[in-house]
C-alpha cells in the first residue's frame, strides 16, 4: 500500500490523511465543487475534483470515485464514515478494480447491513439480542408477533440504520396504523420494504464495543464507549469508560462483541452496539462496519491509533497489540460540535467562519477541518468539529471538557458549543446517570 484515496471529506478525511502521513503512505483527497477550498484538499499529497456539490454526484457516486482512484494511481481506498463506507457493492467494485479496500470484507458489510441477518448471526454466536421477530415479516403477521413479544414494540426497516425508518407502537391499534406506513417509508428510504419487529426497551443506555480484527485470525476489543446522550436518536456526546458498566458486564459485553466479529469473519475496525437495560441486561442492536465518528474516545483511553490499525490490517499486517496489552487508562469524552443553532431547535447554520480560536493544553484533542475564513457548505453533514478531552478520571475529564469548550470560539455561524456547556452542568450527566431518552425527558433537545 503506497497511495490511499480517501473517499470522504471534512474532519474524517483529515484524520485519515494524518494516519497515512505517519505511516509514510501517500494520500489522495477527493473534493466536490463545493469543497475546492476545504482543508483536507490542501493537506493531502494529491487531490482530484469529483464533480458537483450534491453528494449523490460526488461523494456518493461510485463511478467517479473509482475513476478518481485510477487517474491518481491510488492502490487503496479508505471510505471514512457515512457516504459509501457501508456500501458492500462499492467495496466489491474497489476490490474488483484491484484496489485494497480499507474496511471489512464486502460479505461482512452485507450481512451486518441486513439487520435481520445480523440478529440471526448474533443469536447463533450466543450474543444476546433484543426480543423480536427471527427474520423479516410481512405486514399481516405483525399483530400476532407483537402479542408474543409484548408491547411497546418497534417496527424497523431491515435495511435501516442510523436511527432512520423506526416506528413505535404501544398497543395493537397503533401497530395497525403504522405497519403500512413503515413498509412504504422503508421502501422509499432504502429501496427495501422488509421490516422486523422488536421489543422497545424503555429508557435504555447505548453502549458499544470497539473491535479490531486482522487477516491472521486475531480479534481484539478495545473496551466500550457510552453514547447514551442522544437527540432524536443522533449521538451528541460519547465517553469511555461507560458510567453504566461494571467490570463484570464490561467483560461479558466485550467477549460477546469478539464472538460476533469472529462469527462474521470480520476484519478491520468495527463497532458492536448494545442496549443496556436497568438490570444490567444487554442486547445486541447492530454492528457498524466502519470507523465511527466517536473513535477518538477509544484512542484516548487505550492509546491505540485505530485509523493506522485500519491501514495496517488492510495491508495484511498483524495487529500491533495483543488483547492483554490493551490498556484502559483514565476517562475520555467527545463533544460533537455541529453547525446548528441549539437556541432555535438545532436549525442548520452553514456559512463563513469569521473567527476561530481553538482550545489546547493538557488532555485536549480537536479533530476538525475548520479554519478562519472557511465557508461551511450547506450540502453535507453539520458536524464541524469533535472536541475530545482526557482526564485521569471522569471528574477531571468533565472539568477539562468545560475548560476546553469555554476556550473554543467559533464566530460567524451558530454551533452547539453552548449546548455542550449546558450538558456539563446537568446533575444527572455529572453523576453518570443518563439514558437515551434523557434529553427528551428533560425537554432539553
Amino acid at each position: 500500500m503506497r497511495r490511499v484515496l480517501i473517499a470522504n471529506r471534512g474532519e474524517i478525511a483529515l484524520r485519515v490523511i494524518r494516519a497515512c502521513r505517519e505511516l509514510e503512505i501517500e494520500s489522495v483527497a477527493v473534493y466536490s465543487q463545493a469543497d475546492e477550498s476545504a482543508l483536507h484538499v490542501r493537506k493531502a499529497d494529491h487531490s482530484i475534483n469529483i464533480g458537483k456539490a450534491a453528494a449523490r454526484f460526488s461523494y456518493l457516486n461510485p463511478d467517479v470515485l473509482l475513476d478518481a482512484a485510477q487517474k491518481t494511481g491510488a492502490d487503496a481506498v479508505h471510505p471514512g464514515y457515512g457516504f459509501l463506507s457501508e456500501n458492500a457493492e462499492f467495496a466489491r467494485r474497489c476490490q474488483g478494480a484491484g484496489l485494497i479496500w480499507v474496511g471489512p470484507p464486502p460479505e461482512a458489510i452485507e450481512q451486518m447491513g441486513d439487520k435481520a441477518a445480523a440478529r440471526k448471526l448474533a443469536a447463533q454466536a450466543d450474543v444476546p439480542i433484543v426480543p423480536g421477530t427471527k427474520g423479516t415479516i410481512a405486514p399481516e403477521q405483525a399483530l400476532a408477533k407483537a402479542e408474543d413479544i409484548g408491547y411497546p414494540v418497534m417496527l424497523k426497516a431491515a435495511a435501516g440504520g442510523g436511527g432512520k425508518g423506526i416506528r413505535i407502537a404501544r398497543n395493537p391499534d397503533e401497530l395497525q396504523d403504522c405497519v403500512a406506513i413503515a413498509a412504504r417509508e422503508a421502501r422509499a428510504a432504502f429501496g427495501d420494504p422488509a421490516l422486523y419487529l422488536e421489543k422497545l426497551l424503555v429508557s435504555p443506555r447505548h453502549v458499544e464495543i470497539q473491535v479490531l480484527a486482522d487477516t491472521h485470525d486475531n480479534v481484539i476489543h478495545l473496551y466500550e464507549r457510552e453514547c447514551s446522550l442522544q437527540r432524536r436518536r443522533q449521538k451528541l456526546l460519547e465517553e469511555s469508560p461507560a458510567p453504566a458498566l461494571d467490570a463484570g458486564n464490561r467483560e461479558r459485553m466485550a467477549a460477546a462483541a469478539v464472538r460476533l466479529a469472529r462469527a462474521a469473519g470480520y476484519t478491520n475496525a468495527g463497532t458492536v452496539e448494545f442496549l443496556l437495560d436497568g438490570n444490567g441486561g444487554f442486547y445486541f442492536i447492530e454492528m457498524n462496519t466502519r470507523i465511527q465518528v466517536e473513535h477518538p474516545v477509544t484512542e484516548m483511553v487505550t492509546g491505540v491509533d485505530l485509523v493506522k490499525e485500519q491501514l495496517r490490517i488492510a495491508a495484511g499486517e498483524r495487529l500491533a497489540i495483543a488483547q492483554e496489552e490493551v490498556p484502559l487508562h483514565g476517562a475520555a469524552i467527545e463533544f460533537r460540535i455541529t453547525a446548528e443553532d441549539p437556541d432555535s431547535d438545532f436549525h442548520p447554520s452553514p456559512g463563513q467562519i469569521t473567527c476561530l480560536e481553538i482550545p489546547g493544553g493538557p488532555g485536549v484533542r480537536l479533530d476538525t477541518a475548520l479554519y478562519a475564513g472557511y465557508n461551511v457548505p450547506p450540502f453535507y453533514d453539520s458536524l464541524i468539529a469533535k472536541l475530545i478531552v482526557w482526564g485521569l478520571d471522569r471528574r477531571e475529564a468533565i472539568a477539562r471538557g468545560r475548560r476546553a469548550l469555554e476556550e473554543f470560539a467559533i464566530e460567524g455561524i451558530h454551533t452547539t458549543i453552548p449546548f455542550h456547556l449546558h450538558i456539563l452542568e446537568n446533575p444527572g450527566f455529572r453523576q453518570g446517570e443518563y439514558h437515551t431518552e434523557y434529553l427528551s425527558d428533560l425537554a432539553l433537545a
Binding site: 463545493a34 458537483k52 456539490a53 450534491a54 422509499a188 453547525a339 446548528e340 442548520p348 452553514p350 450547506p378 450540502f379 453535507y380 453533514d381 453539520s382
Partner: protein
C-alpha cells in the same frame, strides 16, 4: 406581468418533487396560494419546504431540479 417571485428560504440543494419518483409539487401554469409548497431545499441532510408567499400562476422556474441555491435566491416567477 408581475415581478413576484418565490425565493429560497435557505441555501442548499433545490428539489421540485417530494421524492425522486413523485410528481413535482407544482408545474408551470399551476395556481399557487400563500403557504403552498412548491419545492424542498436540502440543507445539511435535512429537508425544508419552500412555500409561496403570494398568490399567482407559476410562470416559470429559474432553477433546475437539484440545482444549488443561495438563501434568498429567486426560484420561480409568479404571474397573474
Amino acid at each position: 406581468m408581475s415581478d413576484k417571485t418565490i425565493k429560497a428560504p435557505l441555501p442548499g440543494t433545490f428539489y421540485r418533487q417530494p421524492d425522486p419518483n413523485a410528481d413535482p409539487f407544482v408545474t408551470e401554469g399551476d395556481e399557487v396560494n400563500p403557504g403552498d409548497v412548491v419545492g424542498l431545499v436540502e440543507i445539511m441532510k435535512s429537508f425544508h419546504e419552500v412555500k409561496s408567499q403570494d398568490s399567482g400562476v407559476v410562470e416559470r422556474f429559474l432553477v433546475e431540479n437539484e440545482d444549488t441555491v443561495e438563501a434568498g435566491q429567486d426560484l420561480a416567477v409568479l404571474g397573474g
